[in-house]
Symmetry: C2
């Protein structure tokens, strides 16, 4: 897929120029100097020859077939030229030219025209308004960047071309090597999801990096990423997270939502490693690209400096990793090999006067310990330190090890030589222990995620027809907000336990219902025009006699008519009063990029005041629902504090899964708010006491 | 103070050697090559001359006075040589030799001997077991490091010498410049606090950096740091934070405490900027050292790349800074100067083809805007970017600006030239926007902290005699745990409101007391041998009649004797039942380094299950107590949710201040646990309902 972009046999540069100041010159020069070995055709109506290559007036004049066209002409001419590409049978085009969507309405129309042409001819298109495409293996440098970056197993895609230039400049200094590099530009056609699929089986790309500002189709991204991340790590930086705004998840969780939480949930559910900054992105990339994954989180540290050893220990624990407990055998062997003052416990301190041989002993021994999953080697440039010899020793051992080894050669002037040597062995070195620890933590998290089986969402037997009926009824009456009486019918159809209830039109009917279900009962105003019942005094709890029910009914109906004159009042919902339990909330709103975003939290103050809510994109599996429940900060309250029995975990998980199915089955539901779901003690289930839905207008 | 270490007129190197493999050679060579212009005396009994300098057999043979002795001889001879230094009238000695405290018990004794000699002669001593001392202004390089680092306004002290070598290696690569550099080693005499005081008024040191593993005297450190941080920023990295262990703050907050929270509180109270990693330490240092402090937190971004501009915006918001709103005048001027496609709103996007002139316009205009407190300039190396010209432009404008300007020149190969030029102008550049934003946030936080007036702790009128009497009584009976009946006397003496209560020995006495104070009442077991009363059924709430009281009394006393046979039972405490309120907890435990560490949190689950507690080192001011109250995550619950009135803020603050005074006045109190302090509605105060103290054994 999309191979014509990366391994074309022939490339035409439309807009190739002889003027070194022009991008059309740079692109052609990059292709030529980058070592592209296929056929290269400069297209320029005014030139016979450019950079020693025969030029053609149009692509149609090229006598041989052309796989890839790189277009660097002024925007007004791009659609026509793409048309010619189509006629020529070109299968892939990189449009570097700017002046499209990013330039306002006219530009947008021009871009739409471009897409139309591309679709018509079956041309796949990268750009417009981009820096271009690089494949270091082919090799192919179809960009106007300043030269060809070194090769390596890292594939990088960026929505921002400018960021791309900075990344390539880092690479040019030898900091990182790329297999493929794509500047996506306006993403008129090819986007992040296409590239993920294209790189899924590319053997040269061991890790995929994404700088993303926005994704076109969140659900498809998740589906593809879920698959790709099983094969290789995908690390992403998402920008624009704090501007995400505060769109509501439900009337209660409103202030908490926004697409940042959707990205966070989606990346996690899809197994995408999220980097908090560009620095982390490359830190992680170097670890993933060159080192094997750790089997667990137990880390050994070998150091010639106590202080940095402690810093590394702190960083490990902060990152959720464990300082490995070395087994006795290892400690004894270390003790035998190291001087008396050295520390044979982890962190293994080989002392300031350590030569390379002590690192060799130390590192070999800790890696051989079955209780060690990974090692960090810290070297400070002390008076006797053999920086280069130590790098060779560490590199050689790491190359033979199945466990990851990360370096932390600290300093710059003297130590740089060692860092450079390490790189040759595929051992990334980090300037400070904290960064090595964070990179290792990313590897551990990915490995753990990948080791989990992929779970399918549960499918429950439900009554979709009943839901459809309620929705049609409401819509028929011009309503999109569905309150208690109707919402409970929908939830019941989806298998939610709800307390016995009856919609009573008169006080006497209410009393009859109460007698039937047994006291105490609750009365709730039933009106399609009044959704927030408590605000108008529309709820009466714990009614214990016929008189209580009669009085309550009249009071509620009277108040409703007084507070909302003209409101339709159907009567009152009589509901069996349920015993106390822990109140949780399940909500859902539609994220513009990822769709149904389900929220879970403890009800009341925990959500409103303490913002203790977690989110997942539906549909999700039972395991993901489990994680949601355990992830809220207030989870200990669900487990039970001070001798309380635990709340029914299974009941919460099942309720979440049923909501996931409901909002997946009915895309027209744009909001769900079950609040509270009353959760009883373990084994006693849960009940939805109050609920509200909103449909698309 | 300690000036002899940094500006000596003459230096003797005891153990100077002609063998380039020896540290004694390196130290002498560093002094000489480092440009020390005073008198330099190699001391070596076997040499006549070293490195062209006349050598003396002992320091006593030197004909002129010696200010500073640098000792690099094997450890057995150090005490005798220091004795000679004393006889010679040396005022400062750097002991580089190892083999002291770090080498076990004998070493410790040797170190104590060293200190004894130093005290006897009034010699101040750095080390032993250290890398040495550098002053780039003098210049003086009394270390065995690999050369002299570049000068600069940053003073650095490190407990770890090895870390020091890494730091110097970074400096040697031109990344950072130091005024003074001290490796503290074992800190037998001179420690962090001494250096803070010594550098307080050093005009060459604009910022002080500390790498600290442990502090000798936390309270003195806080006192000095509080003063020094008013004059210049002090930035510290504390290592070993996660190993801190889990010493208890009180029986309830036990799992939360540990000295990490003490360091966190102490640094903050003393105005010390805490860096989370060595990388942050230097990132902050470069900003503080070379740029003016921002007056506020409103930041403008000027960039030639949209993506990095967004990343910077995210980072600003995450760091608690604000993207400045440019005033209309600025936007209009920007619009006039920049091309149409540029963004004149903040972040100001000067576009990918920007030459240096656009940066000049953009940066000048945003800095002139009164709504801007600081600027970050992002440069990506695009095709037309004038990296060096732009660096000059940014540097020149920054030099004339009273607002801080931080650079973010992204990349390495091409961009490095610009970063180097920026450095010449004193504009630090960060490789990624996130790091620039974090550094700026540190500046803003420091500036805000420094601008606050220093508040003195309140002093309340209290009855210390009454406290002393209760404590003497308990101690007289061999008790160090002081429970409810006695603890309430102590709290009352310190002005805490407690509910009316009476210690009743018999049921009838209890009834009389209840009648006097009015029902309902609470009964609590009074026994010096049973502190956790609820565990033995020793508390009865809401007793509303004489019969209730009689039954309760007998039941409690019966149960106490059954569960804890042989326990002394004084009877029951009859306490007026107080109306409901919000329950908070105030605790105190003694931190080994900082002393009284006071804890505050909402009672019950919030502390136990949700670990929502804040800490401060006592004594603290009213303002600091205010911050404690506002800092807990559950603060919204104290403000009142869902129409609840706010809890009495002043009452909590005052209770905290009174505890601060109590534990400061009585160092023999090692634990306090007031739980709950029942806080009523605003204006209605608070009452300590249950309390417990522990005295030193």
């Amino acid at each position: 897929m999309l191979e014509a972009f990366f391994r074309p046999s022939s490339v035409a540069v439309i807009g190739a120029s002889r003027d070194p100041e022009k991008l059309g010159y740079t692109v052609l020069a990059n292709l030529k100097e980058g070592g592209f070995s296929g056929d290269l055709y400069p297209i320029n109506p005014k030139a016979k020859e450019i950079l020693g290559l025969r030029a053609y007036p149009t692509i149609l004049d090229v006598p041989e077939p052309v796989d890839l066209a790189v277009i660097v002409i002024p925007y007004p001419f791009v659609p026509a030229v793409l048309e010619q590409c189509g006629q020529k049978g070109v299968s892939a085009a990189v449009v570097i030219s700017a002046g499209f969507r990013e330039a306002g309405r006219e530009g947008l129309e021009r871009e739409e025209e471009l897409v139309e042409v591309a679709r018509r001819y079956g041309i796949r298109l990268i750009g417009p308004n981009c820096l271009g495409v690089i494949d270091t293996d082919t090799p192919l440098n179809a960009t106007f960047a300043a030269g060809m970056p070194p090769g390596g197993p890292i594939a990088f895609m960026s929505q921002s071309g400018a960021l791309g230039t900075a990344v390539l400049d880092l690479a040019m200094a030898g900091r990182i090597g790329f297999s493929r590099f794509v500047s996506l530009g306006n993403k008129a056609d090819v986007n992040e999801v296409d590239l993920l699929e294209a790189w899924e089986d590319d053997p040269g790309s061991r890790v995929i990096l994404i700088y993303v500002e926005g994704l076109p189709d969140g659900q498809r991204f998740m589906e593809v990423a879920r698959r790709v991340t099983r094969k290789k790590p995908v690390v992403a930086v998402k920008s624009g997270v704090t501007r995400a705004g505060s769109r509501a998840v439900s009337s209660h969780t409103g202030s908490l939502a926004g697409s940042e939480v959707a990205y966070q949930a989606a990346f996690r559910q899809a197994g995408v490693v999220r980097a908090e900054s560009m620095e982390h992105l490359f830190d992680y990339a170097r670890a993933f690209a060159y080192q094997p994954l750790p089997a667990g989180n137990r880390v050994a540290i070998v150091t010639n400096a106590g202080g940095p050893g402690i810093l590394a220990t702190d960083a490990l624990e902060r990152a959720g990793l464990e300082l490995a407990r070395l087994r006795l055998q290892t400690i004894e062997a270390l003790t035998a090999d190291l001087p008396d003052a050295a520390s044979a416990a982890n962190p293994v301190d080989v002392l300031g006067d350590a030569l390379a041989d002590r690192y060799e002993h130390g590192l070999r021994l800790v890696l051989a310990d079955p209780g060690v999953d990974a090692a960090i080697v810290i070297v400070t440039p002390q008076a006797m330190t053999q920086i280069e010899e130590t790098a060779h020793v560490v590199g050689r051992i790491a190359q033979k090890s199945e466990k990851p080894v990360l370096g932390c050669f600290m300093g710059e002037a003297r130590i740089e030589a060692g860092i450079h040597l390490l790189r040759g062995y595929g051992v990334p070195s980090y300037p400070f222990p904290e960064r090595a620890a964070t990179a290792l933590a990313a590897m551990v998290a990915y490995q753990k995620e990948r080791a989990r089986p992929i779970h399918q969402p549960d499918r429950f037997e439900v009554d979709t027809e009943a839901v459809r009926r309620v929705m049609d009824q409401a819509r028929g009456e011009g309503r999109v907000s569905i309150g208690d009486a109707e919402a409970r019918a929908i939830l019941e159809a989806y298998g939610f336990p709800v307390p016995p209830s009856h919609l009573a039109a008169t006080p006497e009917e209410a009393v009859e219902a109460a007698e039937r279900m047994g006291y105490p009962v609750v009365l709730k105003l039933a009106s399609p025009d009044i959704l927030h019942k408590t605000d108008v005094g529309g709820v009466k709890l714990d009614l214990r006699s016929p008189d209580d029910v009669r009085d309550g009914f009249d009071l509620i109906v009277y108040r409703a008519s007084r507070y909302v004159p003209g409101a339709r009042v159907w009567g009152c919902l009589v509901q069996k009063m349920v015993p106390g339990g822990r109140e949780v909330l399940i909500g859902m709103s539609r994220d513009p990029q990822f769709g149904p975003l389900v929220a879970f939290g403890l009800g009341g103050i925990y959500v409103e005041a303490l913002k203790d809510v977690v989110f997942r994109v539906a549909p999700f599996s039972r395991q993901e629902a489990e994680e949601m429940v355990r992830e809220i900060r207030a989870y200990p309250l669900l487990e039970g504090v001070r001798g309380e029995p635990p709340a029914d975990h299974e009941a919460m998980v099942e309720a979440l899964c049923r909501v996931s199915q409901l909002v997946t089955d009915f895309p027209e539901i744009v909001e769900v708010d079950i609040n509270p779901l009353m959760v009883f003690e373990e084994g006693r289930g849960a009940m939805a006491l109050d609920m509200r839905l909103v449909l698309t207008a």
